[in-house]
Symmetry: C2
Subunit: 197 residues, 2 copies
């Protein structure tokens, strides 16, 4: 990027570009390691300008995590067509790929959300809610699972299971293949619903 | 308890008694709320004596959580006899009852362990390891699940699922009965193993 193209961007575009950079930097770093200094260095602009865009390190972190959450939601959108179970499999595969490609930042987000950072917790809960709602969505192709309190509890458990196995596998695959990992997750939901139903 | 009986206890017995009290107090409190002051008041002894027994608030918390973890491990021990699946059901029921009876402290432990407190994390991981090993234990009655890397990943996911649904249900049952909760958990493991196998 040259100074000329940079100058043409609106403040919103520039801020958005910086958030994308923040998300890329966070993929292989914890939030603690994602400093304003690092972003300034990578973006080639001053710390002062970054504080102008984001206000504080905490606000910068929240904005980056929110952008990452939006990316995750967009990338895991199920295809418009297909059987409910096939669409779930596509969505699960995209989720696993996203987490593995952004592993350190994702683990760091979970840690922050679980450990009592309310802003991170809120973003985390929102993502989980969006992903869960998709499962109960009724559309012309049918509904994967009936929307009952019982099934909502099952889906919640399945979400926690999914997160756990992806992170465990990303940390140490222990000889389990990616296809086996995907099969564990995608076959689990119908099996859980059937067994508990 | 009178001063006379108290005086007869050895320091180890007295410390153990204080830990039991700490575990009882933690059942309905977060770790943050479990102060040396509170323990002193409930035990009717001086703060100075408690520091003598435990050294620091952090060491006191670790000792209470370790005691609680030992209690959980003891109370969820599966019966010596019975089919593997029946024994699992007994153990799962005891786990659910333990978490519900010690809800605030358990949630607080998870939060501390997930949020980066290394001492709590170590105790949490140890409990999870003990509970998981039971599932792979071979005994004269047979083995519930073959001990493979694949099945270890499934059991890990099932553990996370179990924790999640118990805490979600303990926070808000949303009309789901305790029996339904137990059924979700106990039937999930064989279903997961069968579906992914």
């Amino acid at each position: 990027m040259t100074a000329t193209t940079r100058a043409r961007l609106s403040p919103e575009e520039r801020r958005s570009q910086l958030l994308d950079l923040g998300v890329r930097l966070m993929a292989t770093r914890s939030l603690d390691e994602l400093s304003i200094d690092l972003l300034a260095e990578e973006a080639g602009i001053s710390r002062g300008l970054l504080y102008h865009y984001f206000g504080s390190k905490q606000a910068f972190h929240e904005a980056v995590v929110r952008r990452a959450a939006d990316d995750l939601i967009a990338q895991t959108a199920p295809p418009a067509e297909g059987e409910p179970l096939e669409r779930l499999q596509v969505s699960v595969t995209a989720y696993v790929d996203y987490v593995l490609a952004n592993f350190d930042g994702y683990v760091s987000l979970l840690k922050g959300a679980a450990g009592g950072n309310d802003a991170l917790r809120a973003i985390y809960e929102e993502v989980r809610a969006v992903l869960s709602e998709r499962i109960f969505l009724e559309d012309p192709n049918g509904q994967l699972i009936a929307d009952t309190p019982h099934n909502r509890l099952v889906v919640r458990g399945w979400s926690a299971m999914t997160e756990e196995v992806v992170i465990a596998w990303g940390t140490d695959p222990a000889g389990v293949s990616r296809d086996e990992l995907l099969a564990i997750i995608a076959t689990a939901l119908p099996a859980l619903v059937a067994s508990a139903g």
